[in-house]
Symmetry: C2
Subunit: 185 residues, 2 copies
DNA sequence: CGGTTAAAGTGAACGCTGTAAACATAGGGT
DNA sequence: ACCCTATGTTTACAGCGTTCACTTTAACCG
């Protein structure tokens, strides 16, 4: 009852669509999939999608949320692996940019998507994590908040500029640009 | 012979399309215009566009180039006004972000567009200007280059995050995040 | 059980998009 | 005066997101 059941009712169309969507977004050549394309992929008529999502944007938002969860967990893992603190903070940024380069289409979708992206995707949100890590670097609370946003901005900027081919997507360059020693002395 | 000439031959369709495109992109609600929409606007059939642009992407690229020229000139003006050097450098970043907020759709198009964006848009390119300004801050040439890219990244990141509603599009926040005193001591 | 009902999927249709192909026009150069 | 070529037009096609009316299925309930 797991795969390719030819039943009239698909069983779990919503999840299947999201899986197909994530799959289509993957790879360096990943393009934003069309609603009809995903429906075909899953073996269902295009209009069936509307039983589970009010419109295409809702599907996209679901995919974006999935991506945010993924990024969040990867960042959390990286920070823990690095032992938290300053090292964790630095590693968090690197992970962010590497994620963008590894999943360009998904990363774009995550942010192109209408802002809110529903706050209910858990506390492992990228922003919260950043702020938590900067608090290890300074006792000044406002300064920590500012540093978190600055770090997010620079990581996001690097990611975007590299995705758009404005800056070579070079691993060494990532490290050089994210060098926290020089940025936050 | 300036406007709404009902002649069969439009006169200067290419420029008219670009003007209509820039106009459609303007305003905070600006959307990426469709090829047919622009053709309608200019009073010409959709396929006439193909006499001047090989495809839609080429039109978009032309619009993007127009945007880059505009941003470049605004940055140059801002830097000159601030008197160059460190002050000019800081002002350049602020201008970059403000431009993005003032012309969101155009700014997005400028970078969503396939990378190269043809290098022949003059020397007032955003990147060259940045590098030039950072050289006033340090004698180390490589360090200047790194700082330029870091500054570009953070400005771009702030702009994007604000456009996407991830960070409040607050003017004071821009200044706080771009504070070069703290970032590049 | 058997019957009703609501959830889940279908097909045809609409207006939109970018693009191709074949045809029309007009204005400038020899 | 002519023709040529640059520039436009019409028609057509496939794909998109979305609506509507319809059908199928599974689950619940007496």
């Amino acid at each position: 009852m797991s795969t390719s059941n030819e039943a009239y009712h698909h069983g779990n169309l919503r999840d299947a669509l999201i899986a197909a969507g994530l799959n289509a977004l993957e790879g360096p050549q990943g393009k934003a999939p069309s609603l009809r394309e995903l429906a075909r992929e899953v073996g269902v008529s295009a209009t069936a999608v509307y039983r589970h999502f009010p419109d295409k944007q809702a599907l996209d938002k679901a995919l974006a949320n999935e991506g945010l969860k993924l990024l969040g967990s990867q960042q959390a893992a990286a920070a823990k692996m690095a032992g938290g603190g300053a090292a964790g903070f630095a590693e968090t940024g690197r992970t962010y940019v590497r994620f963008a380069l590894a999943h360009p289409a998904l990363f774009r979708l995550m942010f192109t998507q209408g802002h809110p992206v529903d706050a209910n995707d858990g506390p492992d949100d990228a922003r919260a994590l950043l702020t938590a890590n900067t608090q290890a670097l300074t006792s000044d609370r406002e300064r920590a908040e500012t540093m978190a946003l600055q770090a997010w901005s620079i990581a996001h900027g690097i990611a975007m500029l590299m995705l758009d081919g404005r800056i070579p997507a070079d691993d060494a360059l990532i490290d050089r640009l994210l060098d926290t020693e020089n940025l936050f002395p």
